[in-house]
Amino acid sequence: MTPLEATFRAAGGRVVSALAARFRDLDLAEEVFADACLKAARDWVDGPPADPAAWLYAVARRAALDRLRRRRTAAAHRPDEPAPTPTPEDHAMSLDEPIPDERLRLIFVCCHPAVATEARAALTLRAVCGLTTAEIAAAFLVPEATLAQRLVRARRKIAAAGVPFEVPASDRWPERMDAVLSTLEIAYAEAHADAALAGPHADFAREMLALSALLARLAPTDAEAQALAATIHLAEARRPARLDDAGAMVPLAAQDAREWDAALLRQGEAFLAASAAMARSGSPGPRALQAAIHAAHASRRQAGETPWRDILRLYDALLTLRDDPVIRTNRAVALSEVEGPATALLQLDAAAARGWLPFHVARAELLARLGRMTEAAAEYEAALALGPSRAEALFLERRRAASVAA
């Protein structure tokens, strides 16, 4: 990224959000922001102005007003009217006018339940974080043309269906915030699944950290928003320990806790504390429990051992809120540390998450611990057949070879 592109990226989210909120038109906001960036590339010959965002906002806003005026003129069937003279409002626009922070509003728009699920995260990353279509397509492993098409369709739906450019009122807040948080969860899962973090996912994981922290700051009283930021920070903190020297994945329990990122752990714990402070009215939500599980794993860094009994209790509580095969699989892993692999294997088989990679890995590990090596080898084989990342494949091949040799 050139310094100029970095400046545009840094300013983009706030500028596009402010424009979109003012004109209630996401398409227009992105178009005129692109216009302003083009103009900046020509005009900033001696380097960017003191406040590049304010400059871009003022120029983009003027461009938007121009376009709207032209559209109105066209609609009134007067195609050849000369360009209008600047209005007093244009003159009044000064470069040091503060840009309103409308990013929360825009996040709610992009993640509205009426927007296609597969477009929500992409739309948010594009409009709020300023990622390019090419970058987002690479992160989600879809062709760029497909992603561009999804974004166009989603923007058109938002405009035509009348999705409100408002922060939802308190009675609609929980449902709408849930849609936002699930969108970010799914997007982050894409980034986290890649242990090696090679290529496009490197920037993507950083963007997810920034976006979750931004959301937590913009919605300071929402316990689940704080909790999601906690989870993402705590999980990302483990990133440096997730690969060994050969590039193979290191499972959580085998990671060297000293390699975890202390600063990210501290931030994650601060978000978790904020979540707990906000949840005083009721019991913790599913994301708060998930964050607490990550924090319990993180506590190994100080305590020297993992509090498996606490983790098991947290999974039990989580199961009462969200009973799905993924959580049952993870719970079975915790159970194996408390009650041994035989009990855990029974529970795991009841989870029935066949076809989901971590299920087969967990099952293979339990079988190996029980000394059932032939079955373990077959289960590693099943996991490998699901097309794991390179880092996971290296780990699984090593484990399979060990179980065949035993």
Binding site: A114, A160, A161, G162, V163, P164, E166
Partner: protein, 123 residues
């Protein structure tokens, strides 16, 4: 903005005794109350309940011309049962009304923004 709230219900499951049944009478009474609520707030622009889909007739338009057929346009699990035209500030308000709309059992309510078209006789 104007929205259409379009109601799809499984007639056989929702109204086992057809238009003579208790379920039918009950849902009509609920619709009267719902429409009354919309009307009082000045948000009702139109709409109607529809008779059972076995009363439907379809004109099919193809390159060969226009032909008349017995039955609804498509045989589906759920049938079009009626629609409301309402005024709402935005999609969230329309969704809130759709969530309150009375139905007898499982149903879908499709929300569609209306085209902005000049009304005949109003200029």
């Amino acid at each position: 903005m104007q929205y259409a709230l379009i109601i799809y219900e499984n007639e056989a499951e929702s109204y086992p005794d057809g238009e003579q049944g208790e379920a039918w009478r009950a849902v009509l009474a609920a619709h009267e109350a719902f429409a009354g609520d919309l009307h009082e707030r000045g948000l009702l622009r139109g709409g109607s309940g529809l008779r059972h889909s076995d009363t439907a007739t379809t004109v099919r338009v193809t390159g060969a011309g226009r032909t008349v057929h017995d039955g609804p346009f498509a045989e589906t699990r759920e049938q079009l049962g009626g629609f409301y035209l309402i005024e709402a500030a935005d999609l969230d308000e329309a969704i809130a009304w759709a969530k309150k709309l009375p139905v007898a059992a499982n149903a879908s309510i499709e929300i569609r923004p209306c085209l902005d078209m000049p009304q005949p006789g109003q200029d």
